[in-house]
Symmetry: none
Subunit: 129 residues, 2 copies
Amino acid sequence: MHTSLHISQTDARPMYLQIMEQIRQRIALGDWQPGQELPSIRALAVALRVSVITVKRAYEELGAEGVIVTRHGRGSFVADRVALTNDLQEQRLDEHLLEAARLARVMGLSDDELATRLRKIKRKLGKGE
Amino acid sequence: MHTSLHISQTDARPMYLQIMEQIRQRIALGDWQPGQELPSIRALAVALRVSVITVKRAYEELGAEGVIVTRHGRGSFVADRVALTNDLQEQRLDEHLLEAARLARVMGLSDDELATRLRKIKRKLGKGE
DNA sequence: TATACTGTACATACTGATATGCACACTTCA
DNA sequence: TGAAGTGTGCATATCAGTATGTACAGTATA
């Protein structure tokens, strides 16, 4: 199954978030298909040199988001219809973007300046955390 | 001087942040003028029923932002040239962009997708109002 | 049904952020 | 100079988030 997920020690974000993100990405890329079984939490824990519980937490939250489905004693699977982007998150994203756009207009920022600002912040985000 | 700052217990954000924000607002509104002395940390601590140290922390961070200036043994004062209206807006803009970037990453959105989303929202904003 | 896989529950440890009290240092001015 | 006002340093308490190991429970199948 060559999971090839990995934990970055230099990444300040919690491990369970890193795991969640990489799984989301695998699914988004079509690398892992709907219905397909995910690595067991034990197997993944060993591969990542991380506690079972940490993987469990990642799976739990992905389950709550509807990205995967977990069955006691059976395993975890990519959800059939993957609402990969949570509606709630999408709504929050738009709220922040809208407020940002409003402020930018008030401050007289051009589209380019705003876009540049966003890029800069994304860079910092990727590096710092 | 009727400070009339207050701490909301129902507000989940830390007290020192609430204090910072209210002081920024007073200054932005011109309620507190450049050079004007702020309440002493002790006085404010008593008024807000909060520890001296909590107020100190708020003042420290406002000092680091250049919004106020603190002199040992003298007191704290509104900074002389407070480009606060703009700084404040700029800060809020960055906060929204940062949160948007965070969400986008969590949702697995690419840079392009995020930028497109922002453009779309800006268009709608320009038309609607 | 026994075995070897699955996931789960729980008690605990560690860390960083937040909030605190009190003794101390600086400044002003009567 | 001393009293009364400023801010500061430090040791500590509390809490939420993160991470852990191990004993337990469900499922499949030889």
